[in-house]
């Protein structure tokens, strides 16, 4: 059964069809890639899935149920976590608190119990603290737990953002260009991290990426977007050979130029 399904989903901004007629089906537990040239509509697809945009056409199903119109908060609570292309950490909070915020939904104590430091609140807090530290530990971030999130170097910020998203215990994780701005060795490390996350947390991953080495290296299936429409779908090998994809990335007359 597919965990996420887009059925002819699309959105228009006025006259612009940013995404149209998109069919996408993610088998549970897979590592799925979404690629395409700049402006193809990849991040828009993420924003449709996570409820930031409301699709103007089609339907989006998560675990067999439509999530259209639920809004970002409830969609996240239903089990879809995400990271952002431009990293969005809580800059005023410590590394640890960035993760602890993600446990807020599971708080049992009410506001007054929190203010009065009632036993129920203290138990909540101790649990959130322990879970957050454990998660940071598995991501190798525990030594920086008390640092301000802004003080982390770029690569670790990416890591923290992924750890934070996993703290909500999502069933589906959307990663928006996690390798952006990374050199080949960092990207390679990230590839291992993503694979490890899928194995350790048993989560389905949908990945947007420009780094072809990363996409081709870890994704089991790939969908290629161009101008908001799907132009190809298949395994990395099929995608690599697909003439339509090559055309979209490199232009039509590349072959004639090369041979001439």
């Amino acid at each position: 059964m597919s965990i996420l399904e887009l059925r002819k989903a699309g959105i228009r901004f006025g006259g612009l069809r940013a995404v149209c007629d998109l069919d996408l089906s993610l088998p549970e537990g897979c590592l799925y890639g979404l690629i395409g040239p700049n402006g193809a509509g990849k991040t828009t697809v993420f924003n449709l899935i996570t409820g930031i945009y409301l699709p103007t056409e089609g339907d989006i199903l998560f675990q067999g149920k439509s999530i259209v119109g639920m809004g970002p908060t409830r969609i996240a609570a239903a089990g879809i976590g995400r990271t952002f292309q431009n990293i969005r950490l809580f800059s005023g909070l410590s590394v640890l608190d960035n993760v602890k915020v993600a446990f807020h939904r599971h708080l049992h104590a009410n506001l007054f119990e929190a203010v009065l430091r009632a036993p129920r609140y203290l138990a909540d807090e101790a649990r959130a603290d322990a879970e957050a530290r454990q998660l940071l530990d598995t991501f190798g971030l525990l030594p920086m737990a008390e640092y301000g999130a802004e003080s982390l170097p770029y690569g670790l910020r990416r890591r923290l953002e992924i750890a934070r998203a996993l703290a909500t215990k999502p069933k589906l994780l959307l990663l928006d260009e996690p390798a952006a701005g990374m050199n080949p060795s960092e990207a390679d490390e990230l590839m291992h991290l993503i694979r490890w996350v899928r194995e350790t947390f048993g989560v389905t991953i949908l990945l947007i990426e420009h780094h072809m080495a990363v996409v081709m290296g870890i994704c089991e299936r790939i969908t290629v977007l161009d101008h908001g429409a799907r132009i190809a779908e298949g395994t990395p090998d099929e995608i690599r050979k697909d003439p339509v994809v090559i055309e979209a990335y490199l232009g039509t007359d590349v072959h004639t130029q090369v041979t001439a």
């Binding site: 930031i52 908060t73 809580f90 800059s91 807020h104 203010v115 609140y121 203290l122 934070r164």
Partner: protein, 326 residues
């Protein structure tokens, strides 16, 4: 995962909590000790300044929560003070209960006003709240001016006088503890996360509208308490005490004290309330000095007096880590 993490105490321990309660009880006892043994022998002029500082502290701590920590730009804080003041005054005039019960009722009335104003406007992001609260402040003043039962523009007189040093600072301690504990709790983390990145917070399944409304309503409650105390300070209140310029004054105290700090705005509230009195001997130059001070602050400390820090951060060696206490 080679070695286990070093054992650490839970961030908020039961022992720390009990010590915190003990310190609070001592502080309350100290306030009433001063009230009984020191205030009667103190220059009434000085007592007056201190009590007015206390009321400013209550108003400012609420806005520090809303603006400084949650990042919501509210321009109508004096409007909530007006709601609290008039609710408390009406209680005291017509119920015969102790005026401090009226003050509490004033706080709840302001909180209800906070829900009414906050619920529709906090669903949106951006500057809507500033416009709505600005309008709310104006509407409240006009409503009071045109309500004969509330005394109209002339105000209400003949209120019982009950705002003593002891009561004022009992409320200040209660409010200070409430807001400090709220900010250092899981809710405080969420408020700051709203300020830093609302979209990311929603992607974690946290209801940001709810968090913003909670912060806003708590802020309104303590402004209402400040208003209730004001109503029982000089036996009379009138609408012009709660106009827009008062909201701006409170806003200036928060911004100058530092957004993202609680003790900074409290310090600046005390300084800015006392300053006009200190400058009384050079009264002609008062506004000049006041303006120069504001301009100097903007140039030298653009993030406010303390920035995002607390006074206690300057007494501890560990840099910039989050405060963890009861």
């Amino acid at each position: 995962m080679a070695d286990a993490s070093p054992p650490r105490p839970a961030p908020i321990s039961l022992r720390g909590t009990l010590l915190g309660y003990l310190a609070f009880a001592v502080a309350i006892a100290a306030v009433w000790g001063i009230d009984v043994y020191a205030v009667p022998w103190t220059d009434p002029y000085l007592t007056d300044i201190v009590i007015r500082i206390g009321m400013a502290l209550l108003a400012v701590m609420g806005l520090a929560l809303v603006l400084g920590f949650t990042g919501q730009f509210s321009l109508g804080h004096a409007g909530f003070m007006a709601v609290g003041a008039y609710a408390a005054a009406m209680m005291s005039l017509h119920s015969g209960l102790h005026p401090m019960i009226g003050v509490l009722v004033g706080g709840f009335a302001a909180a209800v006003a906070g829900v009414v104003v906050g619920l529709p406007s906090l669903r949106l992001t951006g500057d809507y709240l500033a416009v709505v609260t600005l309008g709310f402040n104006g509407i409240i003043i006009v409503l009071i001016q045109n309500a004969p039962v509330l005394g109209g523009a002339a105000g209400l007189t003949g209120l019982p006088v009950a705002t003593t040093f002891g009561w004022t600072f009992t409320w200040v301690l209660l409010g200070g503890l409430f807001i400090r504990n709220l900010l250092t709790s899981a809710h405080g983390r969420v408020f700051e996360a709203v300020r830093d990145n609302e979209i990311a917070l929603r992607s974690l399944g946290v209801d940001t509208t709810r968090a913003k409304v909670v912060a806003f309503v708590v802020g309104a409650f303590w402004a209402g308490i400040a208003g209730g105390l004001l109503a029982h300070y000089r036996a009379s209140i009138f609408p012009s005490q709660f106009q827009f310029d008062r909201s701006i004054e409170i806003l200036a105290m928060v911004v100058l004290g530092g957004t993202g700090s609680l003790s900074g705005p409290l310090l600046s509230a005390a300084v800015l309330t006392a300053l006009p009195e200190v400058l009384r001997p050079v009264a002609e130059y008062r506004m000049v000095i006041y303006s120069l001070l504001l301009i100097g602050m903007m140039i030298l400390r653009p993030k406010g007096l303390l920035g995002g820090k607390e006074i206690s951060d300057f007494f501890r060696r560990r840099p910039a880590a989050k405060k963890e206490a009861a």
